[in-house]
Amino acid sequence: MSRKLEERMMIAGKLEMRIAIAAALALASALVHAQRPLFEDGPRSAAKPAVVFLYPEQVTVPATKPTTIALHFRIAPGLHINSHTPSQDELIPTTLSIPAGSGVRLDGVVYPPGMDFTLPLDPNTKLSVYSGEFTVQARIVAVPGNHLVEARLRYQACDNNACMPPKTITAAIEVIGK
């Protein structure tokens, strides 16, 4: 093999080694990051909401005509909320409302069907729940103009071991009646 070719191969080998070392260091730093404590910032202050409103932030609808809009929500992982038609009377259903005086009236709501769910320690009791993301179809009637509507979603969330008190969150939507 010529001397030049040998030198080139040595340089390539050293370069290869340097790239490998850099990659190993990057992976090692990822390992360190993954092992850091979850609570190094100290005790937590406020609880995150179990359900959040995702979208839409703004809709345009024909004024004075009933129009259906889809409201999208997300439930925190590991939690579920009762559907609009829970399996037992004492359970609190998920409901949507719009306060009076906003210029937008709620004409009707179609809720998604609930999913059958049982707690691991009570397999004989079937619950009807939502989990993950879900969509509520709200039929609204808006007077002409721009309206900031604060729709309200009332729900009651649980995980497999505990339940949170019923809560109401606001879904703020700008409704433009044209």
């Binding site: 404590p37 939690l79 004492e90 008190p165």
Partner: protein, 210 residues
């Protein structure tokens, strides 16, 4: 050269596998913490020996905050009247499915340890509306029906909301405070666990175990 490449590739593969395992473990712990964060507010999250987040109440080791609440017949019942008893102050609600699972365990354990001076005070967190007498009466009847169905033999009090601030905010049910005969909170259980865990905490309250 080829051998070098093979060694380097193998080492990188092993490191990548470790990195993935580390990420997966962190992601699992983050989701567990997120779930717990969604249910707990005023307590601290601390890691137990296995690195899993656990709830530590600010009331642990402190005197149980005093209260006087009504039972379903309208009689006033105070915590002070149970001085000298070991207690489980159990916060629950009719809409709480895990509470329905836990209640039969509490009943069994209360009956087992009652002779040793143990009692359960069940405090309902169901909403009540004192401003509307008819609604208030209906709400109490609904709680009473539930109590009868579950055959709770111990005192049942209403209006947990009125004392929630002194008891960590009560943002998750069931929550139980185990109180020893001196009135000190020796254990707090957030959420349903197991009958064995309940019994362990009852024994702590009775002073049988530490």
């Amino acid at each position: 050269m080829k051998r070098n490449t093979l060694v380097i590739t193998t080492v990188l593969f092993i490191l990548a596998a470790f990195a993935w395992a580390g990420w997966a473990n962190w992601e699992y712990r983050r989701q567990a913490a997120e779930r717990l964060q969604a249910t707990a507010t005023q307590g601290e999250l601390v890691l137990d020996a296995s690195g899993v987040p656990q709830y530590l109440s600010p009331l642990q080791g402190k005197p149980a905050p005093p209260f006087t609440l009504e039972d379903l017949s309208g009689n006033k019942v105070s915590l002070a009247s149970f001085k000298g008893h070991a207690l489980a102050i159990n916060f629950w609600a009719t809409w709480c499915a895990p509470c329905k699972i836990e209640t039969p365990w509490l009943i069994d354990l209360r009956n087992q340890y009652a002779a040793q001076g143990f009692e359960v005070l069940a405090v309902s967190a169901d909403d009540i509306d004192r401003n509307d007498p008819k609604k208030f009466s209906d709400e109490k009847q609904e709680i009473a029906r539930f109590v009868q169905r579950m055959k709770m033999p111990y005192p049942v009090l209403i209006d947990a909301d009125s004392i929630s601030k002194s008891y960590d905010g009560l943002d998750a049910l069931p929550t139980s405070y185990f109180v020893d005969r001196n009135g000190t909170v020796v254990a707090v259980q957030l959420g349903m666990t197991t009958k064995e865990e309940l019994e362990k905490n009852i024994k702590k309250a009775l002073g049988i175990v530490k």
